[in-house]
Each structure stands twice: as structure tokens, then as C-alpha cells.
């Protein structure tokens, strides 16, 4: 039943809204993973980022797609937490917890063959301005070094629905997916190479200043 609701939500709400109210220019669609396990790394501007990324995949892939999201934000009340867990299908992550291995759930999901969606900026931050990537993604890539990492750059959704606003203003959005790569070297080198790849993708999108 919940599975059905999730598919219905994406087929009947998310996709029409993305098609008519927003409008996606997707480049490099062939670079998106067709099967799990895989890690998608994207920049974060808006709540719409997650549903947009999910909507790029065929509906049958939905059960495999797990956006990783902050437990303290999305599980703070019952309704939001039901929606986040069941409809969006998030994998809650404890930020600043004292667990032995905070990435254990993520590693387990990858072992099950899921496709994880990660926003290493940690929070949406200032819309359309990228903040530094947190290094957790490097440790996850290291722990599962055979899993491909897919960088995805998104632009425009932060204009349509920025942090702190509930009013959606139509804008076309760019999504640029880059070629997947795998863990090598050390965490610092990995983060630097991820940064370079994201900048290269950003330069392919049509980004206008928004201040």
C-alpha cells in the first residue's frame, strides 16, 4: 500500500509538476546508474532536489533509490517523518551522533544493491551557492571502493523553491550528470577530484547570477 502511494505520488504529483511548473533540461542522462549499488553525489539547493533526482529514474527503480537525509531534520515530527521515510524513501543519517560507525546503514544499503543519493553539502544552505562538501562521502566511497560514484550538478531549483520559502515560482532547471568514477587514493584527493568534477559539470550548465 505504501509502495503504491509512493509510486502514485511520483507519477501523479512530482512528474507533472516538474514537467509543467518547472521544466528540466537534463544533460548526460546516460551517465546515471541503471542498476545498484551506486552512489549519486549532488549539490543541494532546495527540497526539490531530492524529488527531482528521483524523478529522473524510471518508476520501477523507485524502491532501489534511497536519498540520504538528516535524521534530526526529517524525523522531528510524526507526519514529516512518515512522509520522508515512506513516500520519499529517505535513509536517515545521524548528524553529529556518537555512533561507532555513522555510515553503517549506508554501507548496508549499498550491500543490498540500493542506489544512494547523497548531498555532501550537508544542508541546502544559501540557494544557488555551493558550500564545501563534507568528507563523509569519501569515507563511504572508501568503505565500498567498488561502488561507482556518479556526480550530478543541479541548478535552478534553489530559485524555484529556496530554503525558507513555501511558494513555488516556476523556473527551468538544469541537471547535468557526469561520468561515474571510483574510489582511489586518499580522502583528501578524492574530495578534490570530486570538486573538480562538479565544477566541470557546473560550467556545462547555464548558470546565471542570482543574488
Amino acid at each position: 500500500m505504501v509502495k503504491f502511494l509512493r509510486i502514485a505520488f511520483f507519477a501523479l504529483v512530482v512528474r507533472p509538476v516538474l514537467l509543467i511548473v518547472l521544466g528540466m533540461n537534463v544533460r548526460g542522462r546516460e551517465n546515471l546508474p541503471t542498476k545498484g549499488p551506486a552512489i549519486i553525489v549532488a549539490n543541494h539547493n532546495s527540497h526539490l532536489d531530492t524529488v527531482t533526482l528521483l524523478a529522473l529514474f524510471p518508476l520501477r527503480d523507485l524502491p532501489r533509490l534511497r536519498p540520504v537525509a538528516a535524521a534530526d531534520y526529517f524525523l522531528k515530527n510524526k507526519l514529516l517523518s512518515w512522509f520522508a521515510l515512506n513516500i520519499i524513501g529517505i535513509l536517515p543519517l545521524d548528524r553529529g551522533g556518537i555512533k561507532k560507525n555513522p555510515l553503517a546503514d549506508l554501507e548496508a544499503a549499498l550491500d543490498r544493491g540500493d542506489i544512494l543519493i547523497l548531498f555532501p553539502e550537508g544542508s541546502r544552505g544559501e540557494p544557488e551557492q555551493r558550500s564545501d562538501f563534507k568528507r563523509g562521502v569519501a569515507f563511504l566511497a572508501k568503505a565500498r571502493s567498488e561502488t561507482p560514484v556518479h556526480p550530478v550538478f543541479m541548478h535552478g531549483l534553489g530559485k524555484a523553491l529556496p530554503k525558507g520559502s513555501f511558494i513555488l515560482v516556476p523556473f527551468n532547471c538544469d541537471v547535468v550528470a557526469g561520468a561515474p568514477f571510483k574510489w582511489e587514493g586518499d580522502p583528501k584527493g578524492f574530495m578534490e577530484s570530486l570538486e573538480v568534477k562538479m565544477n566541470a559539470l557546473a560550467s556545462k550548465g547555464h548558470v546565471q547570477p542570482w543574488e
Binding site: G23, K159, V169, N172, H206, W210, E211
Partner: protein, 317 residues
């Protein structure tokens, strides 16, 4: 004002003729593709496929009833404005003002649908023109004010105001001659799009002398004049059937549509070149965005409507 929704048989026959032309073009492109397979012909066939979709959507919109047609034209305008606002730099503080810009579309198309000439003519050039700078002033950020108000006002005029003239043609209804307002709309849209294709084809075959190398390097005098003559000739045939104009006036309005269409095309090109983009979007495979497809119409629609209004109907539509 009473407007009757009945659609003349002439509109259906004209649409049939358009499909005839489309089938002919599809066969030509298929033959070309077989003779010289490659990126160029693949692109061409992608374009023709998109034409099938666009013409079919347009046909359904125009033959259903006038409300559906007007809503369709409004939706097309919305997509054009959205593309425009997504391409230009905007300010965070103006987010909600942009939402008002979108809401101006249903209002403008409602005035057109009701055939309220005065409101239709003043709503955007006067009221929205005054409203945007006022709202931006009250928002209280002066940095980038002139750029924001200038780009928004121009965008509203070139997309919403210009394209809403198509709905105004529809509203002319039975007063508009043998095929009604729908006949006028079909005459304008079909000739504008035909002119684009004709200019492209003549340019590809014989193009040598560039018209505007700095703005649109692919546009040539040979393409422009070939398009002009072809469009005028087609207009001479279609005009007496779809509009109240005799053959020579039809040919003249065909030429006018060709010139205005060309100017609209290069104006949108200048705007895109300034922003450093090639296509305004990726909505229509082989064509680019919606703004790339309606660029000629942004000039052709107002010019054709007002020429009809003053010279043919003497202010009666």
C-alpha cells in the same frame, strides 16, 4: 460582445493541406537521410518528427473550441516566459514579483478571450509596466534595480504581450471573414512557421551573402528573399480562402509576415547571443526551446494583428 464558437470548414481543409505539406516534407527528409546518412540529416528528421507533434497539438487545440485554443496559446506563452526568466539573471528579492509576472498571463489572455481591446492593449504596456518597478521599489533593494525592471518589462512585452495577439485574432470570431478568427490565426501561424522553414531551406541551398553576421551568422539574403517570395506566394493562395483579403492583399500580408518573422527571429537571436546560449531550452527535440520556435511569432503576431485591425477591418476586430 457575442462570439460564436462554430469553426468554419475552411479551417479543416487548411489543416488538411498543412498535413499534406508535412507528409511531403517527411518523404523528402527520409529520401535525403537514405542518400546521405549523417548528423545533419538525422537532425533534420528529428525536426520533422517534432513538427508532427507540434502541428498535431496545435490542430487539437484549434479545433476543440475557442476556450481550449486560448488556454493552449496561454500555456505556450507561459512556457516562453518561463524560458526567458530562467535564462536572464534575476534577483532573489524579486522572486514573488516574478510570480506576478506569470499571473499576468491568464489575465491578459482573459482580456483577449473577451475581446476587450482596450484592456488587452493597456494591461501589460501600461499597468504591468507601472506595477513591476513599483513592486521592486517597495521591495527595497536598489542594487541592480534598473537591470531587473528593464529585463522583466522587455520580457513581458516580447513574450506575453506579443504572443497574446494570437488569442486576440481568435476572438475576432465571425467578424473576421470566411474562416472566422481561427482562420486568421491559422493563416498567421502557418505562414510564420512556413517562412522559417522556407528561409532555412533557401538559405541552405543558395545562401551566400550574410545579412547579420554578428547576430545570426547563418541568415543570408538568399534565404531571406527566398522565404519572402515563397511565403508571399503561399499567402496569395491561402489568403482569399482563410481571410477576407483578396489575393494581392494576401500576398502583401504574407510578405509582411515574412519580414516581421525574420526580425523576430534575429531579435531573439541577439538576446540569446548576449546571454551566451545557443538554444533557449531543450523542450522540442531538434528545435531547442519553445522560445526558439515562437521567436518569429513574437514580431509577426502583433504586426499582423494590428495591420488587420487598421487596414482590413477598420478597427472592427
Amino acid at each position: 460582445m457575442e462570439i460564436i464558437d462554430g469553426l468554419s470548414n475552411r479551417v479543416f481543409w487548411a489543416i488538411g493541406a498543412i498535413y499534406g505539406l508535412l507528409i511531403f516534407a517527411s518523404i523528402m527528409v527520409a529520401v535525403l537521410k537514405r542518400r546521405s546518412p549523417g548528423e545533419a540529416t538525422t537532425e533534420l528528421s528529428r525536426r520533422v518528427t517534432s513538427w508532427w507533434f507540434m502541428i498535431t497539438i496545435f490542430t487539437i487545440a484549434i479545433v476543440t473550441n475557442r476556450i481550449v485554443s486560448t488556454v493552449f496559446l496561454g500555456l505556450m506563452t507561459y512556457l516562453a516566459l518561463k524560458e526567458y526568466l530562467s535564462l536572464i539573471p534575476t534577483r532573489r528579492v524579486d522572486r514573488l514579483i516574478l510570480l506576478f509576472a506569470y499571473w499576468a498571463i491568464p489575465v491578459q489572455f482573459y482580456f483577449a478571450h473577451q475581446d476587450r481591446y482596450g484592456l488587452f492593449l493597456t494591461f501589460i504596456p501600461v499597468w504591468m509596466f507601472l506595477f513591476f518597478p513599483m513592486a521592486m521599489t517597495l521591495a527595497g533593494k536598489t542594487e541592480g534595480f534598473l537591470r531587473a525592471v528593464g529585463t522583466l518589462s522587455w520580457g513581458m512585452m516580447i513574450t506575453v504581450f506579443a504572443l497574446s495577439h494570437t488569442a486576440m485574432l481568435l476572438a475576432a470570431g465571425d467578424k473576421a471573414g470566411p474562416a472566422g478568427g481561427a482562420g486568421l490565426l491559422l493563416f498567421l501561424v502557418a505562414l510564420t512557421q512556413f517562412n522559417d522553414v522556407a528561409q532555412f531551406t533557401w538559405g541552405k541551398l543558395f545562401g551566400k551573402h550574410k545579412i547579420t553576421p554578428a547576430v545570426s551568422p547563418k541568415k543570408t539574403w538568399e534565404g531571406f528573399l527566398g522565404g519572402l517570395v515563397s511565403t508571399a506566394a503561399l499567402a496569395a493562395l491561402a489568403g482569399p480562402y482563410l481571410t477576407p483579403m483578396p489575393m494581392h492583399w494576401s500576398a502583401a500580408s504574407g510578405a509582411m509576415i515574412a519580414i516581421a518573422g525574420f526580425l523576430g527571429d534575429i531579435t531573439i537571436s541577439a538576446f540569446k547571443r548576449d546571454l551566451g546560449v545557443k538554444d533557449s531550452g531543450g523542450l522540442i527535440p531538434g528545435h531547442g526551446g519553445i522560445l526558439d520556435r515562437v521567436d518569429s511569432l513574437t514580431y509577426a503576431a502583433p504586426v499582423f494583428y494590428h495591420a488587420m485591425h487598421f487596414f482590413v477591418f477598420g478597427g472592427r476586430i
